[in-house]
C-alpha cells in the first residue's frame, strides 16, 4: 500500500468519523444560538470558536461533514446505480441503436457545464439538499456509464468471455457475472474521485444558497456567511475552508492510492 493511500484513507476516515459521531454527540447543539457570545476565536470551551450567531463552529463542522457526505454519497450512488448498468448495456450491444442512444445521451449531459445545470435544476425546483443531490447525481451518470463501457468493451474480446458465451450465457448474465467484477476496481477508484467532486459541488451549491437550507449546517454556506466578516473574523472562513480541503485532499489521495493498489497491470509492473 502506498503512502498516498494510507494518508488519504486517514484523512477521509477522520471526516467520516466526525460525521458519524455527530449523530450521537456534538460538543454543543449546532443550532443553539448565543448572540452575546458571537464571533469567539478558538478557545477551551469552543474549540473552533463561534460563528456570527454564537453557534459552536466545531459542532457545525461535524454536522456539516454529515451534510456533505450524505449529499455526495447519494449523488455518487445515483451516478453508479444508473451509469454502470447503462455502460454495461452499451458495451454488450456495441454498435447497436441502444449503444448509440446511451452514449449520445451521455454526450448530451456532458456537453453542459455541470455546475451551471445544477444551479438551474435547484433554481427551478427549489433550493434544498434533495434537489442538490439530484442535480449532482445526474452529472455522475455519464461519468460512470462511459468508464464502464470503455472497460467492458475490451473485456468482451477476452477468451473467458468467449467461453461464457459458448456456454450459452445471456449477455445480461455475462455482464453482471463476468464483466462487472472485472471493472469493479475501476469503479471504486472513480467513485472515490466523484465523491470528492460531489463534496465540492455540494459546497459550491450551498455557497450560492442552493444547497441544504438553514439551520442544517453546510460548509459551503458557512463560507458564504463568513464572507463579509473575513477581515475581522478570519476563522469563520478558514475553518470550513480547511474542512473542505482536508476532505477533498483525503479522497483524492485515497483515489490515487486505490488506483495504484487495485490496478493489476501496475501491480505486475511493481512486482
Amino acid at each position: 500500500m502506498s503512502r498516498n493511500l494510507i494518508l488519504g484513507a486517514m484523512l477521509s476516515s477522520l471526516v467520516v468519523l466526525a460525521a458519524l459521531v455527530s449523530f450521537v454527540w456534538t460538543p454543543f447543539d449546532y443550532t443553539a444560538m448565543n448572540i452575546p457570545g458571537k464571533l469567539q476565536t478558538p478557545n477551551a470551551t469552543h474549540w473552533l470558536g463561534t460563528d456570527h450567531f454564537g453557534r459552536d463552529m466545531f459542532s457545525m463542522i461535524m454536522v456539516g461533514a454529515r451534510t456533505s457526505i450524505a449529499v455526495a454519497l447519494v449523488a455518487v450512488g445515483i451516478g453508479m446505480g444508473l451509469g454502470v448498468p447503462l455502460g454495461l448495456a452499451a458495451a454488450a450491444r456495441k454498435g447497436s441503436w441502444l449503444d448509440e442512444l446511451i452514449m449520445r445521451g451521455n454526450d448530451l449531459v456532458f456537453a453542459f457545464p455541470s455546475l451551471v445545470i445544477a444551479i438551474l435544476i435547484t433554481a427551478v425546483f427549489g433550493a434544498g439538499a434533495i434537489n442538490a443531490i439530484i442535480a449532482i447525481g445526474i452529472f455522475n451518470i455519464p461519468v460512470f456509464a462511459r468508464i464502464t463501457r470503455g472497460a467492458a468493451l475490451s473485456l468482451w474480446e477476452r477468451e473467458f468471455i468467449m467461453a461464457a458465451r459458448v456456454a450459452g450465457k445471456s449477455a445480461t448474465r455475462i455482464s453482471f457475472e463476468h464483466i462487472l467484477p472485472n471493472v469493479l476496481n475501476l469503479l471504486i477508484v472513480q467513485g472515490t474521485i466523484q465523491f470528492s467532486l460531489g463534496i465540492l459541488a455540494e459546497a459550491a451549491l450551498s455557497y450560492v444558497g442552493l444547497g441544504a437550507q438553514p439551520p442544517t449546517p453546510s460548509w459551503g454556506r458557512m463560507l458564504a456567511d463568513s464572507q463579509t466578516m473575513v477581515s475581522f473574523a478570519p476563522h469563520l472562513a478558514l475553518i470550513p475552508g480547511c474542512a473542505i480541503i482536508v476532505t477533498v485532499l483525503g479522497l483524492n489521495l485515497m483515489g490515487d492510492g486505490l488506483r495504484d493498489w487495485l490496478d493489476p497491470r501496475l501491480r505486475v509492473a511493481r512486482a
Partner: protein, 496 residues
C-alpha cells in the same frame, strides 16, 4: 493610485508632482456614489422601484413640494401655496424662470400635465393612491396652478413630495425611461447598464446651484464587493451600506466617516393573515411573544436598528412605543399556542428575500420559533421569486421584509395586500384619517391606528432598519437619514 510610489521615488519631479496634487485637489468637483441596487429604468413616475428615486430624486427630478433631510415637507418647485377655508383648494405659486434640462420652460401647464398623467385612469404610476383625492388641476396663469380635491386630505403636501409625484415635461415622456429630463440641479448624462449612471451639474438651475460638477452612481450589490470598493476608495460614498458588520472597521479608519441614519424601513415578520393557523389572533400573538427583537438586531444587524412594536417609524413625532405588547416571553407564547389548539406547535414556511436582515434575521427567528415548538422551514429566495411567490402569489406562511416607503401604515387598510389583514374598523379609521387635517386630531387617530395593528398582532414588528452611509471623511452635506429613498447630492461638497 499605483503610480504614487513611482512619483514619490523621483525626487527631481517632486515639484511637478506637488503641482499635480494641487490641481487634483482643486479639481475635486466630482463624486462617485455607490448604491446597492440599480434602477430598472429611469422614470420615477411609472415604477415602484425605489432605486430610481435613489438616483434621481431631487438631483434630476423635483416636485411641487419635497422632503428635507429631516423628513419635513418643504417647498420645491412651488415657492408657496394657499389652502382654502374648506381645505379643498390648494393654490400653488410656482418659482418663475424654471427650465427643464432640455431648455424648455417649466410652467403651470407642465404641473397640470404631470398630475393629470399620474392620476389618469390608465396611469401606470406605482403610487396612484397618492393622487386619488385630486378632483381637478387648473392652470390659472403660467406660475399659478390650482389643485381641487374631492374631499379633504391632510396628506396632500406630503403626497406631492414623493418621487412618484415629480414634475415631468410632456415632450420627454416618450424617452423618459432612458433619458430623464427634469428641473433639478443635476442633468442626466449617461447610463452604462449594469455599471453606472452619470449626472452633470445643471448650470441653468433655478435655485442654489450644486457645488459638485459631476456625480457618478455606481451599483454594487454584493456586500463583500461593497466593502472592497469603499476600502480601496473606488467610491467616495456608499449610501445604504449593506454589511453592518463592517461599520466598526470604517469607524476605526480616519479615511472614512460613517453616518448611522434611520430609514423609513419598518422591518417586519410578515404573516399571512388568511392562512391557517395565522388567521387566529392567538397564534399571531404567540408568534410575537416568541421573538426576541434585541437578539435579532444584535445578531443580524450587529446592533444597528431600533426595536418597533407597530408599523410606524420611531423618529416620527406621532410614534407610539408599543414594543411592550410583544415583549419576549416564550412561556406566554407556549401557553397561547396551547390555548389556540397547538400545544405541540405547528409547521410553516419562512420565505426569505436576499438582504442580510432577512437571511440572518430569518435564521434567528426560526431558532426562536423552534423554542416554542413552531417549526419554520426556511427557503431562501431571490427578489424575483419573492415578488412572484410571496408578494403577488401570497403563497407563504411567514416572510421578513423591510417596508421602506414613508408613512405606509395605510397598507394595513388594503385587504388584498400580501399579508391580507382585513379589518373593517381599521379601514374606516384610515378613511377618517385621510379626511382629517387638524394635526392634534390626526395624532390621536394615528395613535389608535398603531395600537390597533399592534394589538391585532398583524405581523411580527421587528425593528426600524438603519440606513448606514459610509463616505470619504472629506465629503460633507450628505443626508444622514433616509426620510424617502433619495441620495440628494445638491448640498454635497468636498471639504478643503
Amino acid at each position: 493610485m499605483q503610480f504614487l510610489p513611482f512619483k514619490r521615488g523621483i525626487v527631481s519631479a517632486l515639484a511637478l508632482s506637488a503641482g499635480l496634487f494641487a490641481t487634483q485637489v482643486m479639481a475635486q468637483g466630482d463624486i462617485t456614489v455607490a448604491l446597492q441596487l440599480e434602477p430598472p429604468h429611469l422614470d420615477p413616475t411609472s415604477a415602484a422601484a425605489g432605486a430610481i428615486d435613489s438616483v434621481l430624486y431631487s438631483n434630476v427630478f423635483e416636485g411641487l413640494t419635497r422632503f428635507a433631510s429631516d423628513g419635513a415637507i418643504i417647498p420645491g418647485l412651488a415657492e408657496s401655496w394657499e389652502i382654502s377655508e374648506d381645505g379643498l383648494e390648494y393654490t400653488f405659486k410656482l418659482h418663475s424662470g424654471v427650465t427643464f434640462h432640455d431648455g424648455t420652460a417649466m410652467d403651470a401647464e407642465d404641473v397640470k400635465f404631470s398630475l393629470d398623467r399620474a392620476r389618469a385612469e390608465d396611469s401606470v404610476n406605482a403610487q396612484k393612491a397618492l393622487f386619488a383625492d385630486i378632483a381637478d388641476v387648473t392652470v390659472i396663469d403660467p406660475t399659478t396652478v390650482k389643485v381641487t380635491l374631492s374631499k379633504q386630505n391632510g396628506n396632500l403636501l406630503f403626497n406631492l413630495a414623493w418621487g412618484d409625484a415629480v414634475i415631468v415635461a410632456p415632450e420627454s415622456i416618450e424617452n423618459i425611461k432612458q433619458m430623464p429630463i427634469g428641473t433639478g440641479a443635476f442633468k442626466f448624462a449617461g447610463w452604462v447598464q449594469g455599471d453606472k449612471i452619470d449626472l452633470v451639474k445643471n448650470p441653468d438651475y433655478w435655485g442654489t446651484p450644486a457645488t459638485l460638477d459631476a456625480a457618478t452612481f455606481k451599483f454594487i450589490s454584493d456586500p463583500t464587493a461593497a466593502f472592497a470598493a469603499v476600502m480601496a476608495e473606488d467610491v467616495d460614498v456608499f449610501a445604504g451600506f449593506p454589511a453592518p458588520e463592517n461599520l466598526p472597521q470604517f469607524d476605526a479608519d480616519p479615511r472614512f466617516q460613517v453616518l448611522r441614519g434611520s430609514s423609513e424601513g419598518e422591518t417586519i415578520l410578515s404573516t399571512n393573515n388568511k392562512m391557517p393557523p395565522f388567521d387566529n389572533v392567538k397564534v399571531r400573538k404567540a408568534l410575537a411573544h416568541a421573538i426576541d427583537r434585541q437578539a435579532i438586531i444584535d445578531g443580524a444587524m450587529f446592533g444597528l436598528g431600533t426595536p418597533i412594536g407597530t408599523h410606524f417609524a420611531p423618529h416620527n413625532p406621532d410614534y407610539v412605543d408599543l414594543t411592550g405588547n410583544s415583549a419576549y416571553d416564550p412561556e406566554m407564547s407556549k401557553a397561547l399556542l396551547a390555548e389556540a389548539g397547538f400545544p405541540d406547535g405547528f409547521e410553516t414556511t419562512l420565505k426569505l428575500p436576499p438582504p442580510s436582515y432577512a437571511r440572518r434575521g430569518g435564521e434567528i427567528i426560526a431558532a426562536q420559533l423552534a423554542q416554542v415548538g413552531i417549526k419554520a422551514e426556511i427557503s431562501n429566495l431571490e427578489w424575483a421569486q419573492w415578488l412572484e411567490q410571496v408578494f403577488k402569489g401570497k403563497d407563504y406562511g411567514l416572510t421578513i421584509v423591510s417596508h421602506t416607503e414613508p408613512f405606509d401604515i395605510g397598507i394595513y387598510a388594503r385587504p388584498d395586500y400580501y399579508f391580507q389583514y382585513d379589518n373593517p374598523d381599521f379601514q374606516a379609521l384610515m378613511e377618517t384619517l385621510n379626511g382629517t387635517t387638524d394635526p392634534a386630531k390626526r395624532s390621536e387617530l394615528l395613535a389608535t391606528a398603531q395600537t390597533t395593528i399592534s394589538e391585532d398582532y398583524v405581523n411580527g414588528y421587528l425593528f426600524q432598519l438603519a440606513f448606514p452611509t459610509v463616505a470619504n471623511a472629506k465629503v460633507q452635506g450628505l443626508w444622514e437619514n433616509a426620510p424617502t429613498q433619495a441620495t440628494d447630492l445638491t448640498g454635497v461638497s468636498w471639504a478643503e
